[in-house]
């Protein structure tokens, strides 16, 4: 029997087919891809059955690239061209990265983001990350048996704009449609919350290989609400390794190691650290390049001692997160432990002591983030029926502001604002007749511009000449659900339109991006034109489906001419799709999008009005 199905907004009413979507945990040390299969999230494995892909990329002069275990094995042998922990470099300049002198790479400092000179050429951290993502994408497509509609890619909650933007760029480069950037602790909370059907306030303590996040969430039926988040985007297992490494140097009286020895000892340090989770002491032996053999024994006591300050460093952000959430330790029902580094006994102990309760370790700390991301991807792909899905409310981790007189920061969007968020602030001119204004957008909690991260400079020109202080320039910050910012400025006192919209690109110029895309195609031996055409067609098809289902549900919101205009654009798009010209497809897609603007707005008005039906509503217009 054919019943007419009424689609939920944004969901296709086409006979329901499962859309292939994945969650990807792009980790400092390990990366994973997971997907929901017959209702359950599972990590997808490689041909050998391994879920964890070491986040290691090796470049060969031939142009070949190894990713994962193979690359990891060659770390010491070819350390210059084997990039580990690349996540630490995302959206970062040379001066931003701690202990960079120990990294055996030939860095090129570029504005916004450093690059690495390898035997295969200069590579941006974005490109290195894209190599990892490409392998995961191929794994997923092979395992799920088809092209993906998109991926949820996780980022540390404490990642700033530059780091998020870089991650999204990497995914784009790997040919992934990013459904959402999802914060890692939030992903863990989804997996935990759904698995255990818990309600109340929970903390997620995520200490991975290179980053630390603490998030406080309220879980209620069908809603995951992040109350506050804090952390340290440069604190993780790598730093513990580094402490052990320094201790080894001191014990063995070593100085000035070559890149190979440095890599070797860092690896040994990590092995010793991991061994101490189960044993009271660990022996380290290694043969250096010059034949010298070193030996040392690391005990738990020494290890705890030399890493005490690192453990302490996790507690200050934890305190701040609680304070921002306006909660006490006693309000927290449980602490979910995530990330390989939470296996360390001293971390378990410190967290237990701080919260006064046993930490929750019942999920695999390596996999939980990827699993949560897969669950969210399933929702975003529209695979879940309404009522069966959930609402996720996340926050922006760091405040956004603008530089004002005296190199001070005027905060515009405060940290921990629920996303999406928009805030406006008015500024005025400083001199008579001033016709242009220069804006400097920054992120961070400090008052001085120099102590915050610089995100972008932009200018507003064409301000009508007026006396100082008369112009009214309204600067608007909009942060979307991915936590990404766009800024708009306009002069409003005269009604003269002078607006620019900027998206900070953080050191990646458009030319850079096109070069990377070109390189990646050559590398993947794909036909760039074919891929562009395919992508345009997929986008077009998706749009047509979305419009059809909207029309089916709400056609009575349209006058007949409006309806005719939409139908006409659909037809145009359908015929453009038959052509081989991806630009024509794109143009027709944009045209269909434009012609449905008002329709979209009316549909949403109606949705909201329905929510409030029965309640007193005075006015609902903007």
């Amino acid at each position: 029997m054919a019943l007419l199905q009424i689609a939920e907004p944004g969901m296709s009413s086409a006979p329901h087919q499962h859309r292939l979507a994945v969650g990807i945990d792009l980790g400092t040390t390990n990366s994973l891809v997971a997907s929901v299969r017959s209702g359950t999230a599972v990590c997808l494995t490689d041909a050998q059955g391994r879920a964890l892909l070491p986040s290691v990329v090796r470049y060969h002069s031939s142009g070949a690239v190894d990713v994962g275990d193979l690359a990891q094995q060659s770390q010491a042998e070819d350390s210059r061209n084997t990039i580990v922990s690349v996540k630490r470099f995302m959206g970062r300049g040379v001066s931003d990265v701690a202990h960079i002198e120990n990294a055996p790479y030939d860095f090129v400092d570029a504005p916004g983001m450093l690059q690495i000179r390898t035997c295969a050429g200069v590579r941006s951290p974005v490109e290195v990350s894209a190599e990892i993502l490409r392998v995961l994408r191929a794994r997923a497509e092979a395992s799920l048996g088809g092209p993906l509609v998109g991926a949820v890619v996780t980022v540390p909650a404490y990642f700033d704009e530059a780091q998020r933007q870089a991650t999204k760029e990497a995914a784009r480069l790997a040919g992934l449609e990013v459904l959402r950037l999802l914060n890692e602790p939030t992903a863990a909370a989804i997996a935990y919350g759904l698995d255990h059907a818990v309600e109340g306030v929970y903390a997620v303590f995520d200490l991975g290989g290179g980053t630390f996040d603490i998030s406080i969430l309220r879980l209620t039926q069908g809603v995951f609400e992040v109350l506050a988040t804090n952390g340290d985007a440069a604190l993780g297992g790598d730093d513990f390794d580094h402490r052990v490494f320094c201790w080894l140097l001191e014990q063995c009286g070593l100085h000035q190691l070559g890149p190979r020895d440095t890599r070797l000892l860092l690896t040994k340090a990590r092995e010793a650290k991991e061994a101490l989770t189960l044993h009271a002491s660990a022996r380290v032996t290694a043969q250096l390049d010059n034949g010298e053999v070193i030996e040392a024994t690391l005990t738990s006591e020494i290890f705890t001692d030399i890493t005490r300050t690192l453990v302490q460093k996790t507690l200050a952000p934890t305190r701040k997160a609680l304070r921002d959430a306006a909660l006490q330790v006693s309000d927290v029902k449980g602490v979910v432990m995530v990330g390989g580094s939470t296996r360390m006994p001293q971390i378990q102990q410190a967290v237990g002591a701080f919260f006064g309760c046993e930490p929750l370790n019942n999920l695999d700390p390596d996999k939980v983030v990827a699993l949560g991301a897969a669950m969210q991807a399933d929702v975003l792909a529209g695979n879940k029926a309404a009522g069966d899905d959930w609402l996720l409310l996340d926050v922006i981790p760091l405040s956004l502001g603008i530089e004002t007189m005296g190199e001070l920061v005027e905060r515009i969007v405060p940290r921990n604002s629920t996303l999406p968020v928009a805030r406006a602030q008015e500024f005025t001119t400083f001199k008579d007749g001033q016709t242009a204004m220069r804006f400097h957008v920054v992120q961070g909690e400090r008052e001085r511009v120099g102590d915050c991260r610089s995100l972008a400079h932009f200018e507003l020109r064409g301000i009508p000449p007026m006396v100082a202080g008369a112009a009214r320039i309204r600067v608007m910050f909009q942060v979307d659900a991915d936590g990404l910012l766009s800024v708009t400025a306009r002069e409003i006192s005269t009604g003269v339109e002078a607006a620019v919209s900027v998206k900070p690109a953080f050191g990646l110029a458009d030319e850079d991006i096109s070069r990377m895309l070109r390189d990646s195609f050559e590398h993947a031996k794909e036909d760039m034109h074919l891929r562009a055409l395919n992508e345009a067609r997929v986008d077009a098809q998706r749009l047509i489906e979305a419009v059809h289902s909207a029309l089916e549900a709400d056609h009575e919101l349209l006058e007949s001419e409006e309806r005719a205009a939409i139908d006409c654009r659909i037809e145009e798009l359908q015929s453009a799709m038959k052509s081989e010209d991806h630009r024509a497809v794109k143009t027709a897609t944009d045209a269909l999008n434009r012609v449905t603007d008002t329709f979209a707005a009316r549909r949403m008005d109606r949705q909201v009005a329905q929510v409030l039906k029965g309640r007193r509503v005075n006015e609902l217009d903007f």
Partner: protein, 213 residues
């Protein structure tokens, strides 16, 4: 306090327009920003709540969730660009409204704005003389406690502040919902906002001391 009020004007550093060298940015297509922060919006109406200070927190929370469930961008990940844009605007507005109504001081301020009363938060710094005296005493107490690294004194100060805050909040509620006196309410609000900032300063001081313990 967030600065959503258009009244505040900040002077920007003016640097002569020069070629941009350090940072690269892309200029996107000109767009008309949807203004989720204009004071003219009635946040109470959005959630179907009566326009008054006393609020039914549970009804507010429920309405907020119901609205977000319909409009949140996560519901439109597969939708057309037009629908995604509308969704972003609505979800932004719902968040703004919810955050404003949830916080007593912001709610009071919004209510006064809807009633056409200028709270004078940025311009009118006039406070009653006795409150100014009180401010001075508090500031001194804070400085002293910081110098002595005296957590107990800070705790006591925080408690005193909390007590006075709740007393003033009651006055505020009376002025707004009872025998209406919007100007008196605006005066209370200015004092309360000072107290809120001061209580953050106490927290900072506490954190500074605990952090170095």
């Amino acid at each position: 306090m967030s600065k959503t009020n258009a009244a505040a004007e900040k002077v920007l550093t003016f640097k002569p327009t020069a070629a941009l060298t350090r940072c690269v940015w892309r200029v996107a297509a000109m767009s008309t920003p949807f203004d989720a922060t204009s004071a003219a919006l009635d946040h109470f109406a959005l959630f179907g709540l009566p326009q008054r200070y006393a609020i039914d927190q549970r009804a507010l929370e429920q309405s907020y969730r119901d609205v977000q469930t319909k409009v949140h961008p996560d519901r439109f990940a597969q939708a057309s660009a037009a629908e995604q844009r509308v969704s972003l605007q609505w979800a932004t507005r719902a968040n703004e409204a919810y955050q404003t109504l949830r916080d007593p001081l912001q709610r009071a301020r919004h209510l006064l704005e809807l009633r056409g009363v200028d709270c004078g938060l940025e311009t009118n710094t006039a406070m009653p003389a006795d409150f100014l005296m009180q401010q001075m005493q508090w500031r001194e107490a804070l400085e002293e406690a910081c110098d002595d690294r005296d957590l107990a004194a800070l705790e006591q100060l925080a408690q005193e502040l909390a007590q006075q805050t709740s007393a003033r909040l009651q006055h505020l509620a009376q002025h707004l919902d009872g025998v209406r006196d919007d100007l008196a309410a605006a005066g209370e609000l200015r004092c309360l906002i000072f107290m809120q900032k001061f209580s953050l300063a106490i927290d900072d001081a506490r954190e500074g001391i605990e952090g170095h313990a």
